[in-house]
Amino acid sequence: MPLIRAFLAIIRRDLLLAFRRRAEMANPLFFFVLVVTLFPLAIGAQPNLLQAMAPGVIWVSALLATLLSLDSLFRSDFEDGSLEQMLLSPHALSVLVLGKIVAHWLVSGLPLLLVAPLLALFLGLPEQAMGTLWLTLILATPLLSLIGAIGVALTVGLRRGGMLLSLLVLPLYVPVLIFASGAVDRAAGGLPVGAQLNILLAMLLAALALAPLPTSIALKMSVN
């Protein structure tokens, strides 16, 4: 089986598994909406305050929602032994891992785009920033999945890896958070956002090329 077919087979299998458990798929979405709802309750419902904080609040919530969904990336495969099969397969593990990450993003990252307009409405984000919010979500959520995969691969063998995972991964998310929420913030103020989007794209391309390698080495370590 050529490499590209193995890659596509992994994506198909993971998508199929995810669609068989639809209830779980919706959880990160609910979490995303819920966290954003908490902010007006905690800091009061003044429209200008909420509007000023909207890009940051949406992006921190998206980050936490991704973090929460990361644990499912390798967990079930690790427990039922299919991860070992993947390690034994003749194909490069990093490519298979990339397939898993892509599937994970399609299931948990892409749906965030659907609810983003709703949240922008809740927080009174100006309409002109909506396009940029979508663009940053498209560029940056796969980046979060790619970076997060390294952390998951390191902690998948542990029984309670959840807290540790956030300690490992959140510091690495800092640049993504800065550029993504910065872009939305500038767009809301009517400023150009080309630089931020370019940097996000550059980071995404670098992560696409680099992140699967440490992830596969870490998986080998965890399965061992």
Binding site: I150, G157, L167, P171, P175, M221
Partner: protein, 253 residues
Amino acid sequence: MSWIPAPVSRFFHRTSSPPHFYALADRFIPWLTAIFLLLLGAGLYGGLYLAPTDYQQGDSYRIIYIHVPAAWMSLFVYVMMAIMGGIALVWRMKLAEVMLISSAPIGAGFTFVALVTGSLWGKPMWGTWWVWDARLTSELILLFLYLGVISLYGAIEDKRSAARAVSILALVGVVNIPIIHYSVEWWNTLHQPATVSKLDKPSIHITMLVPLLLMAIAFKFYYLIAVLQAAKLELLKRETSSQWVKNMLEKQA
């Protein structure tokens, strides 16, 4: 590995064997301590007594003799950890793993000292203990990176796999440090007024610079002493059942 001359490679093989390293560390530590104390004394005397008072900041600038070397060391130790991690991953060298793990708490300590002294200096200068200044913020994130390394190592039961996991994490971290640093710097210039950066780096006079450099070298020696001691302890913990530890204990008893 024919491009490495035989005596050098022999030296590395000998040094990387735990009992040999242990004895070597024991022999080096007193000398390193002597050099460290000498440099520390000279640096402190130069910095606290000989160097003139700053015309703007008064005597409170003298905290840089601790703050700046600690901040330098916090980065230096992380890079050292990444190098050790690379060696540990490629050549599976036990000693590199031990050095990596022993460096982590020391590096975290330097980072913490840099943060605390920065905040102490900030109180009289900026009027507040904490400012979301670019350098302070990236130092704080560096502290989190260190804490991640330490707790990942603690969380994995099997210490050989834990060392491999930590090596990967250190390498990923070292690639990310410049990205984090520059993005934080960029974020800061977007959100904060520029008053901070004017105070941040005054050009420095030679009488103030020399003690600073002495302190920086003294901190390097301190790191060497601390990492060798920690590595000795880690080796003893890992190899409790091996023959050379038993022999050594019998000799001491």
